[in-house]
Each structure stands twice: as structure tokens, then as C-alpha cells.
């Protein structure tokens, strides 16, 4: 008999193709097979509980391909049940923010859910949850340093769906509950990291998330 399983964790949802530069780069491809049209609704994926990791985690990656993409982003932490919320009210459902490293094995095919690439153990390190309603995510910036060297920066004013619109479009078809985390998506040209690297992601106003990348040892 099954008894006392741990209570269900909150769910982390990511969104694909939410950066304008990425959409522009892929535009020619969208018109040909197998895509044939640009996406109309938000394309979501889930970072399941085996991916959850904290600040200073060591993220183990397989020798093949021996590198990971650091799709660094901001997570919106939902504070109250959001179902069919209009954009004008959407931010009232955001209770907190967190810096998130949405780690993925590099992939360019968006036809099938990238479980093998995105959902490996420890592939979703998340920094401290910052409880505030005053943070203006549309003006946020994000910087990545690898081994102390600045390698990447992005701003969140170029999202295809800004935070409020994203919440509105997602909750049109599914409920977000308190504790769920909605990631704003990766930026164009995310850097890659390799075993031995230390990744530091900084969002002024939200703090820092640090993690290392190590080579996976098969159990």
C-alpha cells in the first residue's frame, strides 16, 4: 500500500520562444515543414521536481554533448490562484520573483517536448525567492558571468509576451496556483557552460544565483 507520499510540489512552467530576437531569427524556418506557421499561443513546458536545485548547486551533465545552454531567466512566483486573468490584473497574482537557470542540453528542434534536454536531474537551479510587488520586471536586466568573466547580458523589455500578457495568455487555458513558478523564457544567444565552469547569474534587485557544472557520473 502507498502511504504518505510527499505533498505535491508547486510546478515550474517555462515558455518557449518568448524573445523577439529569437522569433525573428527563426521566422524563415517557421514557414516550412514541420512548423508551417509561427506559434499563436504560448508554448509551455514543465521543469519537473527532479530538476529542482538551489543556489550553489552542482549541475551534472552528460559527457555527450559535454556542454549545456544556460537559459537564464526570471521566475514569477504565483501568490494566488490565477484563472482567466486579464493582463491588467495579472501582476496582482505575482507574489515574488526568483533568478532561475533553466539549464538545457543545446537543441534547435522545437517540434517535440525536449524532455531529454531540459528535464534532467538538477537542471533548474533557482535562487532566493524575493517577495515583493514593487519589482518592475519589464525593466529588469540579467547578467551572466562564467568563471568570473562576463559573457552575456539581456533585458526583459523585448519579450514577445511581457509578464502580464504571458500570465493572461497562459491562464486563458490553465490555472496557475499559489507556489507555481512561471519562467519568462530564455533570451537570444544564451551562453553554454562546460564541466568545471562556475555560472553566476545576477539580476539587480533580485540578487544572484550561482551554480557549477560538473560531469555526470552514471550511478
Amino acid at each position: 500500500m502507498i502511504t504518505s507520499f510527499p505533498a505535491a510540489c508547486a510546478t515550474v512552467y517555462g515558455v518557449l520562444l518568448n524573445d523577439r530576437a529569437t522569433l525573428q531569427r527563426l521566422a524563415p524556418q517557421f514557414d516550412s515543414a514541420p512548423y508551417k506557421a509561427a506559434p499563436r499561443a504560448p508554448v509551455l513546458y514543465i521543469k519537473p521536481r527532479n530538476t529542482f536545485a538551489g543556489n550553489h548547486a552542482a549541475v551534472a551533465i552528460p559527457a555527450d554533448p559535454g556542454e549545456v545552454r544556460i537559459d537564464a531567466t526570471i521566475g514569477l512566483v504565483i501568490g494566488s490562484t490565477a484563472t482567466r486573468v486579464p493582463a491588467s490584473k495579472a501582476m496582482e497574482h505575482v507574489a515574488a520573483y526568483a533568478v532561475v537557470s533553466d539549464v538545457t542540453l543545446p537543441h534547435e528542434n522545437y517540434y517535440r517536448p525536449a524532455i531529454r534536454q531540459r528535464d534532467r536531474d538538477g537542471f533548474c537551479p533557482m535562487g532566493e525567492v524575493v517577495a515583493t510587488r514593487d519589482f518592475d520586471v519589464s525593466q529588469a536586466a540579467l547578467h551572466i558571468a562564467i568563471n568570473g568573466q562576463p559573457v552575456y547580458e539581456r533585458r526583459f523589455d523585448q519579450l514577445v509576451r511581457p509578464a502580464a500578457q504571458l500570465i493572461a495568455d497562459v491562464t486563458e487555458f490553465m490555472t496557475l496556483s499559489a507556489g507555481d513558478v512561471l519562467l519568462l523564457g530564455s533570451g537570444e544567444g544564451s551562453p553554454v557552460a562546460r564541466p568545471g565552469d562556475t555560472v553566476r547569474i545576477t539580476v539587480p534587485g533580485l540578487g544572484e544565483l550561482c551554480h557549477t557544472v560538473i560531469l555526470e557520473v552514471q550511478p
Partner: protein, 254 residues
């Protein structure tokens, strides 16, 4: 043993199936299955679902052949619903189909499970109905969450059956009825990727944990579901799951 979870007289209680097929409460008393409000039989962890895992179904929805690597997607807990509950069909859609699926519940934390050891990590089985709204199918991370992760669109239950009670989960009849008319009649023997293969495949990429649920795909026979329909999905020895299709009036609950 069959385990369920219901709301009875305002309390959420764990129940078992009585010898006469009704609901046995913790105090031993027995009530009719229609006298309780059903919840999913447990809180599940990660919910995996398989696309195109029966060759006949892959052919039915116009794929030339089933995928060589399992087509896996994930679902959130918002999608789950209980036995005898209602699922919303949005008023603007033209095709929403039911999918009778065997759900496999993981019982142990595990990684890199060999096929021959796979059944040792299984806690039990459930019947599920994994509705899809075809209108919303787009070619990105297909099938995406708008098709497959809608609130209340995955009824599960009524029972979680202990693994020990199912002699051969790869030889179970699955059937679905719409308003009493048989529409889907398949067998888990026809899965493209078997339960041991799926457990080996998933655990080669990621750790599986107790309470994780693998919905193993559906055979052919899917059909449209309309407001007012009673959809029954049944798996031999596992359970008979009833669901009703509602309309946009369910927006207040979903």
C-alpha cells in the same frame, strides 16, 4: 487492494473498494460510489504522458509510423480531475477527444532502471482519461500544454490498484464508451513502448520518484466528446472511470 480518495460529509478521506464494489470508509462502513465526491486517488508528483504509443492510434491520427523514441510530454496537477467529475469543452472548439490510458504509479526513487527490474519500482496502476483538444494543436513542443494540460481535462481513478493485484499489466483490455456506445476497444499488449521500456527510458534521463505517474498512451477509437456526454473509460482489473462533458458554465470551477 484498491485505494481511493473522496470527499464525504465535508471531509477528505482515504477509502478502499468494498467486496461488493462500493466504497469502504475508514470506519468500515460502506457507501455507494455515487454518494461521495471523488478526487484523484493520490497526490501525484511528475506526470508523464505518452503520445502515439499504440501503433493503431498513431496511424489513426495520420502519422505514418509510431516514433522510435517514446514521445513524452509532461502535465501539471491542474489537469487532474476525479471520478464522476465534469470536464469542460470550450464552446469554440470543434474536436475534443477522450483517451483511455493505463497510468503507472512509481513507488521508489530510482535512476537507470533496467527493463528486467522495472516492475520492482511500480507501486500500482490507475485508469486515466487524457482528453486532447485537437483544435489547439500547434507544431511546437507538440502536443503542447494548451492541447493537453487544460484544467480538469485528465480524470484519474477511481482507484489506485496495488501492483501486486495486476498479474500482467501488458495484457489488459482498455475500453471507452460514449453514452453507453462502445467506441474504443484495445489492449495494453499493443503498446509500442512497453511499461518496462518506458521506465527504463525515463529513468535513463532523470530520477523517478514515488508518486510519479506515467500515462502510457491510448489505442485507436478516439472520438469527439460533446457537452452532456457521459464518457466511460475502463481498464480490466484497474477500474471504470466515469466523466461528464460540461460547457463554459464550468469556467467558475475550472
Amino acid at each position: 487492494m484498491k485505494h481511493g480518495r473522496v470527499v464525504y460529509q465535508g471531509q477528505t478521506v482515504a477509502v478502499t473498494e468494498s467486496a461488493d464494489g462500493n466504497v469502504q470508509l475508514p470506519d468500515g462502513s460502506i457507501v455507494a460510489e455515487a454518494a461521495v465526491q471523488w478526487l484523484p486517488p493520490m497526490d501525484f508528483g511528475t506526470i508523464f504522458a505518452l503520445g502515439l504509443n499504440y501503433a493503431d492510434h498513431a496511424k489513426e491520427i495520420a502519422f505514418n509510423k509510431a516514433p522510435e523514441e517514446p514521445l513524452v510530454f509532461l502535465k501539471g496537477p491542474n489537469a487532474l480531475n476525479g471520478h464522476r467529475c465534469r470536464t469542460r469543452r470550450p464552446s469554440d472548439v470543434t474536436y475534443m477527444h477522450f483517451e483511455c490510458e493505463l497510468g503507472v504509479v512509481i513507488g521508489k526513487t530510482c535512476r537507470n532502471v533496467k527493463k528486467e527490474d522495472a516492475y520492482s519500482v511500480v507501486a500500482g496502476y490507475v485508469t486515466a482519461n487524457d482528453y486532447a483538444i485537437r483544435d489547439y494543436l500547434e507544431n511546437y513542443y507538440r502536443p503542447n500544454l494548451r492541447v493537453k494540460n487544460r484544467d480538469g481535462a485528465t480524470p484519474v481513478g477511481p482507484w489506485l490498484v496495488d501492483a501486486a493485484d495486476i498479474a500482467d499489466p501488458m495484457h489488459l483490455r482498455l475500453r471507452s464508451w460514449v453514452n453507453g456506445e462502445l467506441k474504443q476497444d484495445g489492449n495494453t499488449a499493443d503498446m509500442v513502448h512497453s511499461i518496462p521500456s518506458l521506465i527504463a527510458h525515463l529513468s535513463s534521463m532523470m530520477t523517478l520518484n514515488p508518486g510519479d505517474l506515467i500515462l502510457t498512451g491510448t489505442p485507436d477509437g478516439v472520438a469527439d466528446s460533446r457537452v452532456g456526454d457521459e464518457i466511460v473509460t475502463e481498464i480490466e482489473g484497474v477500474g471504470r472511470l466515469v466523466n461528464f462533458i460540461g460547457g463554459d458554465e464550468l469556467l467558475s470551477v475550472h
